[in-house]
Amino acid sequence: MEKRIRVLVAKPGLDGHDRGAKVVARALRDAGFEVIYTGLRQTPEQITEAALQEDVNVVAMSLLSGAHNTLFPKVVKMIRDKGMKDTLIIGGGVIPDADIPGLKDAGVSAVFTPGTPTGSIIDFIKTNVK
């Protein structure tokens, strides 16, 4: 049997808006992925630790506070520093288009903004996960 894709849905930063994170988590689960949701207010250290412990293939971060330019790259760096070279890291939330190239340069493979159908996230993961 093929191993199921494991996804950590993570909320870095301090914002409490997790409607999007929970809807995406549930859609990924309904698409057959194993999904772990961290809950709110996770530090980059906590997210990295959870990614390691749960041995996930994908880390999907959600952030709506505007702190993405600070926190997304930090999580990417910590995860890579822990040797998780192949983990697919994606993000979503209220993120201005102008910030997306910088986030991609920092190692966030894709950024999904408001209005994205959950199907596009599922397809992206299936296509890009290693």
Binding site: L14, V23, R41, T43, A67
Partner: protein, 548 residues
């Protein structure tokens, strides 16, 4: 019997249109009936169910003349970056005809951390203004007469601290506390259920809230001590009925807690206020506002035995639905907000914030905030919607819908009572789960196109990257940290230590009201993080219920 004749004619009509519908089908999945008639409000009793505006059960509104005397307060929620920057925006809003202030705080402030805390990194000044000490609060209200303006503060877990700072700034301006007008959100239960900026566990949080009720009833009598909020529950994905049901259940929990703490219901209930969402479905929203007033009036009179009509009134602030703004074709949001404004006004709100068109992308620019404020002014002065009290009262549809929402609300309140009340229902994850289910259903309806969102899943166009978005200066964090360091160096640190020690003792003694002690601490420039740090030490922190 008149109704027998009407029933027969209704049956004829239905048979006729169903036959026609076989050829030209109606749209699928419409939530409500095709047509409403007197048959849908059988048993309707005008005096019992509606009565007159300003009278029990307040279905038609809480004031006798509603907007014929004075319009609702046009209160634009604002705040970003530093106190210096936000002060400029507030003065701009007041000069533009805004009639009240509404302060947005950044997340570290809302969760009780100072700007120099490591956890605040990247968040300082982002979603609101950063407040560390009384110094920031003095700057925030510089040249704004607190004796004249009314101020709403979206602050929950540390509400007591920000209210204390506001009282202290007013005192410095020479305005006594009993002349202050405004609101603190102070609604911790919806933070656990939907919004996420909690700090302490339920028990000490409920104590802080009842301490505020008690303190304000004596010293700040015109202050709205809580804004029991459905707004965020709706934003998190609930339905209209769930929004008011879960919120009124929260309200019941606060009243219960205050009565248990020994307060007389009529001493504080008149200062309780509510906060609704104005969502897309205009008439459903109007019915929701009307139903919520009727339910609360019955709760207060029948369940709690309140005697004063003020205690029965559900007074409400409203904000248009942020989650309904689209990042796609953002100009369309102006139209959405106008319809939502119409709903809030026909629903009888006491104050209103209208969202700006660019808020699915970033914080709003000054230009887009002006359009949002102008939308309210157009509805007020040009549309005629504000000229008659409860203009939709008596509509078969709106009355039937009001009854339906009221019934669904009572059903939820019963369920929550059976679970042991709102606190227990939240601790068990029941309310969160219900909201999540509704949110997921909404998203799936959008994805399957059972629900059309213009510009998102239909009528899309190729769009350019939006330009001219507001960006918070990245240097804000450093600026704020330096300001805090300067305050800490210049204040009387021995006094700070003494006041914080007194606070710690008071926290341990449940019979003490914490408001005067917190007021003492802010006056010597103890920081928000220091004060909340002391409370964290004594009270501990809330562990969230995480489920999918």
């Amino acid at each position: 019997m008149a109704n027998e004749s009407l029933k027969a004619k209704m049956a004829e009509y239905t048979a006729k249109v169903e036959k026609a519908a076989a050829k030209n089908p109606e749209r699928q999945n419409l939530a409500h009936n095709r047509l409403y008639t007197p048959l849908d409000i059988e048993g309707f009793d005008y005096e019992r169910d509606l009565g007159f505006p300003g009278e029990y059960p307040f279905t038609r509104g809480v004031q006798p003349t509603m907007y014929r005397g004075r319009f609702w307060t046009m209160r634009m929620y604002a705040g970003f970056s530093t106190a210096e920057e936000s002060n400029k925006r507030y003065r701009y809003l007041l000069e533009s005809g805004g009639t009240g202030l509404s302060c947005a705080f950044d997340l570290p402030t809302q969760i009780g951390y100072d700007s120099d805390d490591a956890i605040a990194e990247g968040e300082i000044g982002k979603v609101g203004v950063a407040i560390d000490t009384l110094k920031d609060m003095e700057i925030l209200f510089d040249q704004i007469d607190l004796g004249k303006v009314s101020t709403s503060m979206t602050i929950n877990a540390p509400a007591a601290v920000l209210l204390a700072m506001y009282i202290a700034v007013a005192e410095k301006q020479g305005v006594p506390a009993d002349k202050l007008n405004g609101t603190i959100q102070n609604d911790i239960l919806k933070e656990y259920a939907a919004r996420g900026t909690y700090i302490f566990p339920p028990k000490p949080s409920m104590r802080l809230i009842t301490n505020i009720f008690e303190y304000c009833s004596k010293h700040v009598p015109q202050w709205n001590t809580i804004s029991i909020s459905g707004y965020h529950i709706r934003e998190a994905g609930s339905t209209a009925s769930q929004e008011i049901a879960f919120t009124i259940a929260d309200g019941i929990a606060y009243v219960d807690a205050a009565i248990k703490a020994g307060l007389n219901v009529d001493d504080f209930a008149g200062r309780l206020s509510f906060f609704w969402n104005a969502h897309n479905n205009v008439l459903e929203e109007v019915a929701k506002f009307r139903a919520s007033r009727r339910v609360w009036a019955k709760v207060m009179k029948e369940r709690f035995g309140a005697q004063s009509p003020k205690s029965w009134m559900l007074r409400v602030h409203t904000q248009t639905a942020g989650s309904m703004l689209t990042a796609q074709q953002p100009d369309n949001n102006i139209v959405r907000v106008a319809l939502q404004t119409a709903a809030a006004v026909m629903g009888g709100t006491q104050s209103l914030h209208t969202n700006s068109k660019d808020e699915a992308l970033a914080l709003p620019t000054e230009d887009s905030v002006r359009i949002a404020l102008r939308t309210q002014q157009i509805v007020a002065y040009e549309s005629g919607l504000a000229d008659v009290v409860d203009p939709l009262g008596g509509s078969y549809y709106v009355e039937a819908l009001t009854d339906k929402i009221e019934k669904e609300c009572w059903d939820y309140i019963k369920k929550i009572d059976d679970l042991g009340g709102a606190v227990a229902a939240i601790e068990k994850g029941y309310i969160q789960k219900e909201i999540q289910e509704s949110a997921y259903r909404w998203q799936m309806d959008v994805e399957s196109k059972q629900r059309i969102i213009v510009g998102v899943n239909q009528f899309q166009i190729k769009e350019k990257t939006p330009e001219g978005l507001l960006r918070v200066d990245a240097a804000v964090g450093e600026f704020q940290k330096n300001k805090l360091a300067k305050v800490k160096a210049e204040r009387d640190n021995a006094a700070v230590k003494a006041k914080l020690a007194a606070l710690e003792e008071a926290c341990k003694d449940e019979s003490k009201n914490l408001m005067p002690v917190i007021l003492d601490a802010v006056k010597v420039y103890a920081s928000l993080g220091e004060i909340c740090g002391v409370m964290r030490k004594v009270f501990g922190e809330y562990e969230a219920h995480v489920s999918l």
